[in-house]
Amino acid sequence: MNNKEFIAALSQREGYPLRDTKMLIQHLIGEMSSQLEDGNALTIPNFGVFEVKKRMERVVVNPGTGQRMLVPPRLALVFRASTSLRCNTKKGGEAK
């Protein structure tokens, strides 16, 4: 499902026009990213947790050339599915 289909599905479910849904989604994602940028974690019940984790710098070796490279530290956005989502998708995955 791509973005367009997703917006369509959401607008159909909520009964808003596509444009308003698009606008609301933008605001939601903007709010989410600004909160995550501040280092906050977002807990959405029955869905999962969005949080920012720090990945430490590390040295990696290119197995082909043997070149050693230092990968800098970075902040990564990670998502952990909640138990209910895991259960649902597990079933769904098997069904499909």
């Binding site: 997703f6 479910r13 989604i25 994602i29 956005l77 998502f79 998708t89």
Partner: protein, 423 residues
């Protein structure tokens, strides 16, 4: 910061942004994630622009071990949710560390580290080489001590750490140049004085009185001269070794140079700092140590008068030791015979030899009452007890013989036991 936000808080933010009622926003947020879940179950993949991609990934069945029972169990195949953030969102989150990514060090880092390691190992080699040099010069110095016991300074310096050695030669070199100017006697005579001492170093005390009796006036510079002479070659060898080790150091500095600018600067700066600190420390030590004994005879004209009187005395009674020191009691009769001429000699040549004085001591060293060879079992405390009936005089023996560390005295070192006079 680092709070766990709930949907309610998120909805508040959305409501503010979109200027919609909070309840409205909350409902919307909830349905947003519901739709994502539904779509995931239905289509296994949901792309939300600006947020990222949710994906269902199939996981194959695999064997595992039950942690509690240790039994092998089969984990059934299932699918799990993965989330890949949008590139824009990922960059936004990583903004604090964004500059790290632009300054990827990748290729330079390992070579730099390796070179730094090379530099370290090279530095480690220097002390080893220098230690070998120090050993060689120590052997030289020991040979010198057999011939001449008069250079305790140099011997002690050899025993000392290499750095001390390096610094000492730097300070002593100008001094060696000075001393010949003070001594005006032609150099041809010097070997003559030294020669009789070489075959029988133990009877050194007996040898010295001979020239004294022949020419008591000339004897003064003569006694001093071999000292200067024998000091010079020792210092020269040390100087050569230091020149070598300095060359090695320079090489290291050169090898360190091609390093990355930051690293080499750091290394060199710390190295120079340590070097400078050592130089300062040793300069202070050397000035205190060397200039004190040499200034004393020149500063006190009274001692020169004393010299004249003592020379007369010694010429009148050759065997009579001056009774100025109550502590100087020879312990054994065998040593008494030795110590008598020694002490007379010492007093006679006292002005010529300027004895190092102990700073802040109640007694001043006026001569040599005996010599003692350090053999196994002998300690400075023993010797002090033997000659002075007290262990409190170890510092004087140390000062007399230039022993820096009373705990470490070389085996077979000939110690001169000072004759003390109450100040």
């Amino acid at each position: 910061m680092n709070r766990r936000l709930t949907v309610a808080e998120l909805s508040d933010g959305v409501a503010k942004r979109a200027t919609v009622p909070v309840s409205f926003a909350e409902k919307f947020v909830q349905s947003f994630f519901d739709v994502v879940e539904e779509a995931l179950v239905k289509e296994k993949l949901v792309k939300v622009k600006g947020l990222g991609t949710f994906k269902l990934v199939d996981v194959e069945a695999r064997e595992s071990v039950d942690v509690n029972t240790g039994e092998r169990i089969l984990l059934a195949a299932h699918s799990k949710v993965t989330f890949t953030p949008d590139a824009a969102l990922r960059d936004t989150i990583n903004r604090p560390f964004a500059d790290f990514e632009t300054v990827l060090l990748n290729d330079e880092t390992p070579t730099e580290q390796m070179e730094a390691l090379d530099g370290e190992t090279a530095e480690r080699e220097v002390p080893i080489a220098a230690a070998a040099l120090a050993e060689a010069s120590m052997i030289l110095a020991e040979e010198e001590t057999v011939v001449e016991e008069n250079l305790p300074n140099v011997v002690e310096a050899e025993v000392n750490v290499l750095e001390d050695e390096l610094e000492e030669t730097r300070i002593e070199e100008p001094r060696v140049e000075e001393t010949p100017t003070e001594v005006k006697e032609p150099e041809d005579k010097e070997p003559e004085v030294q020669e009789p001492k070489v075959p029988e170093p133990e009877s050194k005390e007996l040898n010295v009185p001979e020239p004294e009796s022949k020419e008591p006036e000339v004897q003064e510079p003569e006694v001093q001269e071999p000292k200067v002479e024998s000091e010079a070659p020792a210092e020269e060898t040390v100087a050569v070794t230091t020149a070598e080790s300095q060359a090695v150091e320079n090489k290291i500095l050169e090898t360190v140079e091609p390093l990355n600018a930051n690293n080499s600067n750091m290394l060199r700066r710390t190295f120079l700092n340590i070097l400078a600190a050592l130089v300062c420390m040793f300069l202070g030590y050397a000035t205190c140590y060397y200039f004190r004994p040499f200034e004393l005879p020149t500063l006190s004209p009274a001692s020169q008068e004393q010299k004249a009187t003592t020379i007369e005395k010694s010429s009148e009674h050759d065997t009579a030791a001056p009774s100025g020191t109550p502590e100087s009691k020879p312990a054994s009769p065998s040593e008494a015979s030795e110590s008598k001429p020694a002490s007379s000699d010492a007093t006679a040549s006292k002005p010529a030899k300027s004895y190092p004085q102990l700073e802040g001591g109640d007694y001043e060293i006026v001569g040599v009452q005996a010599t003692e060879v350090m053999s196994p079992g002998k300690t400075l405390l023993n010797i002090s007890l033997k000659y002075f009936k007290s262990t409190d005089f170890v510092p004087y023996i140390c000062t007399m013989n230039g022993i820096d560390n009373p705990d470490v005295v070389p085996l077979n070192k000939e110690l001169q036991i000072p004759e003390l006079k109450k100040k």
